[in-house]
């Protein structure tokens, strides 16, 4: 089996006395797709923020291709090959679609997909000259994704990209993510929509209150008592 691209080893994060993440560990290899699941406030986005360099972890270590990256600056982590989208899409609204992607392309190390290929993959062809602020929610999310993949990340975190999209847009998105996975990327999908998750990932890591409560195949997670209790409440879980 290939070496893990990303290793998260016992990562904890405290904000003052509040424990947002408690000794979370996982690994992901090339071409794998992992779902990161949990109710609101379970620490999913905090975990992404810690891995991508927004916050340093309070405890634990993070390795990317064998190099320790925890505590590094976000732009260095992005250039090294880890990137993410945002729960609320954050394209640069005053910039055009082309400028949004060009900005990321200008910081890419080495070769990779061209502007046209990225536009084609994310179904944004024909919108290059539009200001990102004029795009609809689905298009803005795809642009966020286009910005993230422009740096050719080998590990890509997708943070609730499906929220607020209609079924057609969700299918388009699932198709895009599958293409990326086949291209050898490791993908971590943070999502509440189980139907969407089923189309993209096989394995999931379930968090609750910052702790791992389940790790394994998605179909097994749906039958796990702890997972049911967390998502559906005590009366149904028992």
């Amino acid at each position: 089996m290939s070496e893990a691209e990303l290793v998260v080893d016992g990562v904890s994060k405290y904000f003052g006395g509040f424990c947002a993440l408690d000794a979370v560990s996982f690994e992901i290899r090339r071409g794998e797709a992992l779902g990161l699941v949990g109710p609101n406030g379970s620490g999913k986005t905090t975990l992404l923020n810690v891995i991508c360099g927004l916050y340093p972890p309070t405890k634990g270590q993070i390795f990317f291709r064998g190099f320790r990256i925890d505590g590094h600056k976000p732009h260095l982590i992005a250039r090294a090959g880890i990137n993410r989208t945002f729960q609320l899409a954050k394209p640069f609204k005053s910039l055009t679609v082309r400028e949004n992607i060009d900005l990321a392309l200008s910081h890419r190390k080495g070769d990779g997909a061209s502007l046209d290929e990225i536009l084609n993959l994310t179904n944004l062809t024909g919108m290059v000259g539009l200001e990102a602020g004029n795009l609809n929610a689905g298009q803005q999310k795809r642009l966020d994704l286009a910005r993230a993949i422009s740096l050719e990340p080998s590990v890509l975190f997708i943070d609730e990209l499906g929220a607020g999209l209609n079924p057609v847009e969700l299918n388009e998105l699932a198709e895009i993510l599958r293409k990326m996975q086949y291209g050898g990327r490791a993908i971590v999908v943070v999502e509440h929509l189980m139907g969407f998750l089923e189309k993209v990932v096989d394995h999931v890591l379930v968090l609750n209150a910052g702790r791992e409560i389940f790790r394994g195949e998605l179909r097994n997670a749906l039958n796990d008592q702890d997972v049911k209790r967390v998502f559906l409440g005590d009366s149904i879980g028992h």
Partner: protein, 330 residues
């Protein structure tokens, strides 16, 4: 540096001319410089024109700091005052030519800007207040009587021996050209694109690979250097000045109002704002000085209420309305 074949240079220039925003910005550099070159033939008060050019540079400096990176420095006058003192003291104590003094003024602004880089740990109103406090502290240090042997303390500076109206005027024109060229570069380069991304969202910009701290610091130091040179020319033109004149907070406020009135993030906006409002202020200040503060206040309120993106923003919106009338917008 790689040599660019002449044919490719021509094609690059042709592309720039064809690109409407680039050619419009090129006109925005040429027209003000040509206008100030011709202005003394029609208007004899060169000192007033020099001050106007100084304020164009200050407004463009605010444009770089606020329009491109989103940091509004109410203490921007600190660089202006530091430049005025650095340039003047170099002329008086080191006996350098006054034109070289302008460059030393820029270095003075740059040094103070470097010292204030930790201010970027603050954001929004805290940054604005922090920069204002730093400028006031610098003014207090320079005007301290115990530093009279170095800065002449509260007794000010007399540059009468270096006065040359022609040299001052040309220096101001060159500085305006330089500031416009810097803003032109920011509007049409990857560096400028990075700054605009930083203004929108720093973390998102860093996820696009942008080194936020480095790029923001470079922009800040550019703005500080420009203000230092502007302050140096102001001191040279004013001849006799005191710390209170070159560290006056109203210089920051007026520069900010000029930049916002015209529209930040653009090349034309701050120039337009400085020319129109400085002319209006001067006219009102001479004819009806008792209404000066009133009119000043009304303009700021009107700006916030009706044109938050400045005159350039209003022009853009109007143009978009005219050209998209009857067409479907995305």
């Amino acid at each position: 540096m790689a040599k660019v074949p002449p044919r490719r240079l021509v094609s690059r220039f042709t592309r720039m001319v064809i690109d409407r925003s680039i050619s419009w910005d090129l006109v925005g550099i040429v027209v003000p410089i040509a206008a100030f070159g011709l202005a003394p033939k029609f208007y004899s008060n060169e000192l007033l024109l020099t001050y106007m050019m100084v304020y164009i540079v200050m407004a463009q400096g605010i444009n770089i700091s606020y329009g491109f990176t989103g940091y509004l420095p109410f203490g921007y006058v600190g660089f202006f005052g530091a430049g005025a003192y650095a340039g003047s003291l170099a002329v008086l104590d080191l006996h350098v030519p006054a034109i070289l003094g302008v460059l030393i003024g820029g270095v003075g602004g740059l040094l103070v800007g470097s010292l204030l880089l930790p201010l970027f740990r603050l954001r929004g109103a805290y940054f604005a207040i922090g920069s204002l406090a730093a400028a006031n502290a610098l003014a207090d240090i320079i005007s301290n009587p115990s530093l009279t042997s170095i800065t002449n303390g509260p007794y000010g500076i007399n540059l009468a021996s270096a006065y040359s109206s022609g040299e001052i005027y040309v220096s101001a024109m060159v500085l305006v050209g330089l500031s416009l060229a810097v803003v032109f570069y920011l509007r049409h380069s990857q560096f400028g694109l990075s700054l605009r991304a930083i203004k929108e969202d720093e973390y998102s910009a860093s996820m696009a690979g942008v080194n936020v701290v480095k790029q923001r610091s470079i922009a800040w130091l550019m703005a500080a250097t420009m203000a230092g040179m502007a302050g140096s020319i102001f001191g040279w033109a004013t001849t006799v000045f005191y710390p209170s004149a070159v560290f006056d907070t109203s210089i920051s406020v007026i520069s900010i109002v000029f930049a916002l009135f015209g529209g930040t993030g653009s090349l034309w906006g701050p120039t337009f704002g400085a020319i129109v409002l400085y002319s209006a202020y001067t006219a009102v200040g001479i004819s009806n000085p008792q209404y000066f503060q009133l009119i000043y206040g009304v303009i700021i309120i009107a700006l916030i209420l009706f044109a938050p993106k400045g005159i350039v923003g209003v022009a853009k919106t109007t143009r978009a309305r005219i050209f998209t009338r009857g067409k479907q917008v995305v």
